[in-house]
Amino acid sequence: MTDLSQPVAAAESEAQPAGVAPPLWLLAELTYRCPLHCVFCYNPVNYTDHSSELDTAQWIDVLREARALGAAQLGFSGGEPLLRDDLEVLVSEARKLGFYTNLITSGIGLTDKRLDALKDAGLDHIQLSFQDSTQELNDFLSSTRTFELKKRVAEAIKAHGFPMVLNCVLHRYNLPHVDKIIDMALAMGAEYLELANTQYYGWAHTNRAQLMPTAEQLKEAEAVVERYRREIGERCRIFFVVPDYFERRPKRCMNGWGSVFLGIAPDGAALPCHTARSLPGLTFPNVRDMSLREIWYESDAFNRFRGFDWMKEPCRSCDEKTIDLGGCRCQAYLLTQDPANADPVCDKSPHHESVIRVVRAAAAREANEQPVLFRNDANSRRLAATHDDDDPTQGTRK
């Protein structure tokens, strides 16, 4: 799975209109089911509590309503979206509606037959995830034996003429392999390579102590990326998503709450960001009960952190608030227990020390002895059952 929490798009006019702008980016998380069990997955740790899935007709309604609102980009994600056998039907409908359609997949289940069908349906692009450039680490991190299969799938994607973006989530274990990961992307003919440093939500937050890299690892990896960028030019564009724990200012998360991103979870819950389910005190509207227009423009959940009125100090009076919009609400909650606080990545936050501590612990490698927790149904049920409202590390509330 990938993290898409960076601003999508960037329409060239940056100015925010006075009112609420329409959504641009619809993420359809078709299912939480997944053949992989990645330790850094951003899905809610209690995803097994939300296992009822929208049916084909309900998804088609979502696509039509979102397109009518103005959404132009559509990601089919999950979980593994290929586990839905109506994926081709949904892609076809989406393409007819005028969406740019992105399939975000592990590649497991992407047979030649399905590639043919997706091509016929008009799919625009496939983003394929790898966990590493080596079979050992790829297979360990996903708790599967999938590396060789993924390599064959990458070839098949190119053979079918799809633009391909390779995505690899980075962390302590694979940062030293960045050169090999880039070589792999080049050899596979990927148009873009997204090197996404782990963002610590969901399962990644649970495994944070094990995944957190050191500052030296990051510095070296960035230097490698820079060197490749100079050498390869336009052949493959490399994105390097910086891990924000190492920054002093927070990211402009989702380009603003309820600003461009509209996520629909497998059960129909509408989310202003991928990981919003972890936030307390918010009831997320469901497409089964409410129109998307009402959800986007009128629901409490989507309006809660729009604009600046919700901010507390130090954000409220900060002259940089229009740049980063206070950072990430989920991170503020996970690290300070209050989603309206400043994202503690910011060194103006009184909680910034909590971020520093995590980075220091990683440097001291205090955490290596703990086992990682794989994303699977048994672990999810256990985490959901032992869920404690006072413990934000346990992720999503029921």
Binding site: V8, A10, A11, S13, L69, G70, A72, Y100, Y192
Partner: protein, 93 residues
């Protein structure tokens, strides 16, 4: 630029890379360029140039077509500059 490079440039027929799709977006009241997980909103002149980068026309033909369509002259330098920029951003083949 050498003469042969110049000739090669003149003979080139710019075309959007297959990663990109150009379309009219009513909600934006503008043409946009869509690509994996991203979108660029185009102003009118950018859109009119890119609409003609369809792989069938050489650069001088694109300029002539635009000058005719907009009843203008002297667009050559602007169009060339835009196309060079679009190439460096990876939009065009």
């Amino acid at each position: 630029m050498t003469e042969s490079a110049m000739n090669e440039n003149e003979a080139h027929r710019p075309k959007l890379r297959k990663l990109f799709r150009l379309q009219w977006e009513p909600a934006q009241d503008a043409h946009v360029l869509l690509y994996p997980e991203g979108m660029v909103k185009l102003n009118q002149s950018a859109a009119q140039i890119l609409l003609r980068c369809d792989g069938t026309r050489e650069l001088p033909a694109i300029v002539a077509d635009l000058e005719q369509a907009f009843n203008a002259t002297g667009l050559d330098a602007d169009v060339r500059a835009f196309i060079a920029g679009a190439q460096s951003r990876g939009w065009l083949e």
